[in-house]
């Protein structure tokens, strides 16, 4: 049934439209606008400086580092997060018992905040008391300083990857459970091993879901903030800097809102490029049985 009363349509839609317009679209364009200004300390005075902030952005070593780190994260997340999730899902799909248990346990970290996960790993990496060093000590080995300029990126990547494995695991598992049993039965008659069935039946049939997961992981990587902020704050020496933490540092520690807006604009541009890419993948036809 379809209603035709325009009055109600407007009354019901308007609050959501206004709120989205004022708090998402207006600030989005305002950020781009501010990126052309010299503006500090949230003062009432801004001066137009054209492309100065963009010049600085292109030359900024911290931005280079943040972009490089994001690229490394993208690759690591696709290989490890998606890879581990896929292997775990294929294994759970192949066994008969424990489906619910593994799903519950694997998904659990996804519901917890990045802040809590970050603090947990920060404590785990601790020198005197962290559990990594506790394990080393109990094995009779020397303690290690875990977060250094060389290791910082890896140390923030571990929880970032670890937290969301369960998320992609659940997506893959539900895709696998939709594959009709006949496919496996006939392969079994042909003598295919479990490994072959996974490679030649399961993976190709859920390939569209895997590509959706990859594009979600890519978009998600650009939103990384909490874990990095809590464990290293982007340091030492920008070693684990990402665009979000750098924007925060510039805008609220450095009190330079003009330049921070330029970083915000860079994030918007990257987001648009990525969402076009993600949409292409997402819009592909799903396999139906």
């Amino acid at each position: 049934m379809v209603f035709k009363n325009k009055k109600y349509a407007i009354i019901f839609l308007l609050p959501a439209l206004i709120l989205t317009g004022i708090l998402i679209y207006y600030p989005l364009f305002a950020t781009i606008y501010y990126s052309f200004y010299n503006w500090r300390d949230f003062s009432n005075f801004r001066s137009f400086i054209g492309l100065e902030n963009y010049k600085r952005l292109i030359e900024d070593i911290a931005v280079h580092k943040a972009l490089l780190n994001t690229m490394i994260m993208l690759i690591a997340v696709i290989i490890f997060q998606i890879g581990i999730a896929l292997i775990l899902a294929l294994l759970v799909h192949s066994i008969s018992k424990g489906y619910k248990f593994f799903r519950t346990v694997y998904f659990f970290p996804v519901a917890i905040s990045g802040t809590a996960i970050g603090l947990m790993f920060y404590l785990a990496y601790g020198y005197d008391y962290g559990f990594l060093n506790s394990i080393l000590t109990s094995l009779g080995k020397e303690k290690i300083v875990w977060i250094t300029e060389n290791s910082a990126l890896i140390m923030v990547l571990i929880p970032i990857i670890w937290q969301y494995v369960g998320f992609y695991f659940v997506i893959f598992l539900s895709a696998l459970s939709k594959i009709p049993q006949d496919f496996y039965d006939s392969a079994l008659i042909d003598g295919a091993s479990k490994f072959h069935r996974a490679i030649y039946i399961s993976i190709p049939l859920i390939w569209d879901v895997i590509s959706v997961a990859i594009s979600l992981a890519i978009v998600g990587t650009f939103k990384v903030f909490d874990i990095v902020y809590v464990i290293t704050g982007g340091g030492p020496m920008n070693a684990s800097q990402v665009l979000g933490t750098y924007l925060y540092n510039v805008a609220f520690t450095g009190q330079n809102q003009g330049y921070a807006s330029t970083i915000g604009t860079l994030i918007i541009i990257l987001g648009v490029i990525l969402s076009i890419f993600a949409n292409r993948v997402l819009k592909r036809d799903r396999i139906t049985y």
């Binding site: 600030p27 950020t31 519901a111 008391y129 909490d226 915000g264």
Partner: protein, 278 residues
């Protein structure tokens, strides 16, 4: 022969699966375990069980430095509770229109779906200026309406597709019986949408409760900050009081553990649907 092979494969599978299960549970058990120990006991061996279960770490959380974790708890529930209510109200009304009215919905839908892709990083500075101008800077209200706006597109997407799948026969017969639009909305559409509404509510609650970035920026004063922000500060304020940090971590994640355990099916469904949000 084939059977023997299969069981070796299964055993190996279980070993790998159990190993990953341990990695997801062990860090939490380690934190809970150490939250009952004194800092000196943690330093001695953080892997051992506590000699006696002491609640001393938890007793400090009410007042340490200028942080009151329990106050943060209350703030979190004020903020996240309001966000959930507002999002549900606005999104269910909008979803009703998008799923049931004869209007061109294409533009409106893409208005919301595009908004979903906007990262918080790109809107906070102008939003902050706006709030200062209208005199609500630093208040719970400023955070509540921003989080509401950022959650609305997702909620509308999930709820409108849920409502579209609801059967239309009930409404048609109600209409013939002379029911008006509001009666249909409150007596038929909303009750039938409850599973979708619960999913959205849990997701929005978790997302708001777990949000650090905006909470930190919008609310500068300690006594008004939600628990997540206070948790991000404990390592600098508690210094070497590791026991208290562990306890702070535990109480922050307790509500999430409870929600997750009770409503797991909805949480998994909601966060999978929320995937598009990233």
């Amino acid at each position: 022969m084939a059977k023997g092979k299969l069981s070796v494969f299964s055993i190996l599978s279980y070993i790998v699966l159990v190993f990953w299960a341990i990695t997801t549970i062990f860090p939490f058990l380690w934190v809970i375990n150490n939250s009952f120990k004194s800092t000196s006991e943690i330093l001695l061996n953080s892997l051992s069980l506590p000699k006696e279960i002491s609640l001393k770490n938890y007793q400090q959380l009410g007042n340490y430095g200028n942080i009151n974790m329990f106050r943060g708890f209350i703030n979190s529930f004020i903020i996240s509770g309001s966000v959930v209510l507002l999002v549900l109200l606005l999104s269910s009304l909008a979803s009703f229109v998008l799923s049931r009215f004869e209007i061109k919905t294409g533009i409106i839908k893409s208005f919301f779906t595009s908004a979903m892709l906007v990262p918080a990083f790109s809107i906070v500075i102008p939003a902050l200026v706006l709030f200062r101008k209208i005199g609500i800077g630093g208040s719970h209200l400023s955070l509540i309406i921003t989080q509401t706006a950022l959650n609305l597109p997702f909620a509308i997407l999930v709820l409108s597709s849920f409502m579209t799948t609801l059967p239309k026969e009930l409404e048609e017969s109600a209409l013939i019986d002379g029911a008006n639009l509001l009666t249909i909305l409150f007596k038929i559409i909303f009750p039938l949408s409850i599973p979708g509404i619960i999913t959205v509510a849990i997701f929005v609650f978790l997302w708001s409760y777990n949000d650090l970035f905006m909470s930190m920026i919008f609310i500068p004063t300690r006594d008004k900050q939600p628990i997540c922000v206070l948790l991000s500060l404990v390592s600098s304020i508690y210094g070497t009081n590791y026991g208290a940090m562990m306890a702070a971590l535990v109480i922050t994640i307790i509500p999430v553990i409870i929600i997750y355990m009770l409503l797991q099916e909805f949480v998994i469904r909601g966060l999978t649907a929320g995937a598009i949000k990233g």
